[in-house]
Amino acid sequence: MKKTTNAFKYIFLSIASLISIFPFLWMIISMTNKSVEVTKGSLIPGTHLFENMRNLFTNNLHFANSLVNSAKISVITTVIALVVSSLAGYGFEIYRNKVRDRIFSILLLSMMVPFASLMVPLFRMFRNFKIFGLNTTASVIIPSIATAFLIFFFRQNTKSFPKDLLEAGRIDGLSELQLFTRIYVPTMKSTYAAAAIITFMSSWNNYMWPLITLQTASKRTAPLIISTMSSSYTPDYGMIMAGIVITTLPTALVFFLMQKQFVEGMLGSVKG
C-alpha cells in the first residue's frame, strides 16, 4: 500500500514536471525549425536556427530595437522604483504615526484596483502631458514607479531590521538620510535583490500599458514586437520562437543565479 502511494507520488510529480518544462524544450527545438515544421508539431531539432535569427534581426521588425527599449525601460523602472519604495517602506515603519499608518492602509487598497479600469484615464492623462506624453519611454516608466506591493514588501522586511543600529548611528552623528543610505541600505541587500528581481521581471514582461502608450514600432518593447509578429496572418513561428528564447533569457538567468531571492520576491510579504 505504502509502496503504491509512493510510486504514485513520483509518477505524478514527474508528469507535472515534464508538462512544466516541455514548453521550454519546445521553444528551443522550434527556434531551429521552419515555421511549417513548428505548426506541424515537429520535435526534431532542425537546421534553421541561423536563418531564423537572421530573419528576426534583419526583417525590419525592430526586434533588436525592442530589446534595447525593454532593457532601458526595465532597468530605469527598477532603479527608481526601488529608491522610491524603499524610502517609503522605511519611512512608514521607522517614523510611525497614526496619520501615516492610515494613509498606508489606503495606499494598500490600490492593490485591488484593476489595471483595466486605469487604462482609459491614464491614456487620456498622458495624452495631455507635454514632456513625457504618450509614445515616450517615460510614459511607460512613470505609472509603475510606486506600487503599493513594493512599499508593503519593504515595510514588512523593515519590521525585522535591527533598530538599535539606527540609535548607534544617531549617536555617531549621522543625519536621518545618512542612517538610511549608510546603515539601512547595506543591511537590507537581500531585500533589495528580491525587490529588484520582481520589479525587473514585471517591467520586462509588461504588455498592456506599453501596448496602449507606445504607438510607433521603433519605440515598442520586446513583448509587443513578439505579439505583433505572432498576430500576422502567416506567423513565422521559427523566427518568433527565436525571439521568445532571447526575451526569456534574462529572466531565466536571474532565476537560476538567484533562485532564493527570486522566490522571496514572488512570495512578497506573505512568508512567515
Binding site: S30, V120, T248, K271
Partner: protein, 296 residues
Amino acid sequence: MSINKKGTLERKQNIIGWCFTVASIILIITFVFYPMIQAFITSLKSGAGNNLKFVGLSNYKRLLTDETFKKAVFNTLIYLVVQVPIMILLALFISVLLNDKNLKGKGFFRTAIFLPCITSLVAYSVIFKSLFANDGLMNKLFMNLHLISSPINWMTSPFWAKVTIIIAITWRWTGYNMIFYLAGLQNIDPSIYEAAEIDGASATKQFFNITLPLLKPIILFTTITSTSGTLQLFDEVMNITGGGPGNASTTISQYIYNLSFKYTPNFGYAAAVSYTIVAMIVILSLIQFKVAGDNK
C-alpha cells in the same frame, strides 16, 4: 522645558517621516486613485473621442442590453469558476506531495514546476498558440494516444478556444501558487503531524484536519489574487485566440481595450465597463473573506 524639547523632536521626526514617504504617496494618488475617480466621472459621460457629454447612468443602462458585454462577462466568469479552483487544488496537492521529508529529487520537482513563472505572459501565450495549432503538436499527441479520433479545432471552436486558454493559464500559474503553499507548509510545526500519527490519523485525515485549516490564510490570499488576476485576464486572450472565434473567448479587459483603442473610441462606455470589474473584484473579495471567516 524637557516636554517642549520632546515636542520639537517629535515634530522633527514627523517631518522626516513625511519626507521619506511623500513621493510614493503622491505617485500612487496621481496614477491610481485620481484616475479611478476620473474613470468614474468619465463613465457618466458619452460621445466619440473627446466630445464627451454628461449623460448620467445611461452607459450603465446600456450594459444591460449589450450582447458583447454579456458574452465577455460570461467568459470571464467561466474562466474564473473553472480555472481558479482547478489551479488552487492542483497547487495544493503538489505542494503537499513536495512537503514530504523523504521525497527524493524534491529540489528538481519544485524548480521544474515553478519554472513557468519566469515566462512573460505574451511569450507563453504564443508558445501555447503554436502548440495548439490545428495540425500542431497537441492534436498529434492526442491522436497518437487515441484520445481523439480527429483533430480538435482549438482556435476556431468556441468551446475549445476557452479550454486552450484555461490550460495555458493553469500551466503558467500553478507553480506560482504552489510556492505560497510550500512556504506555508514549512511553517507548520512537524510535531503536530507526529502527534496525529501517534493518534492514528490517516494521511487524508491529517490533510483535512491539520494542513487545510493552518493553510487557510494563504489559501484565502492566493484565491483573492487569482480571482483578481482572472477577472483582469487580457494578455493571454489577446495573444492566444485574439478573443475569437467571434467573441467566444473574449474577456472584460479585452472588451474595454477594444472599446477604447480598437473601435471608434468610446471612453465613457469603456469606463462604465471597467467599473464592473472593480465591482466584481470588491464583491468577490468580500465574499471570500466572509466564507473564510465563517469557517474559523
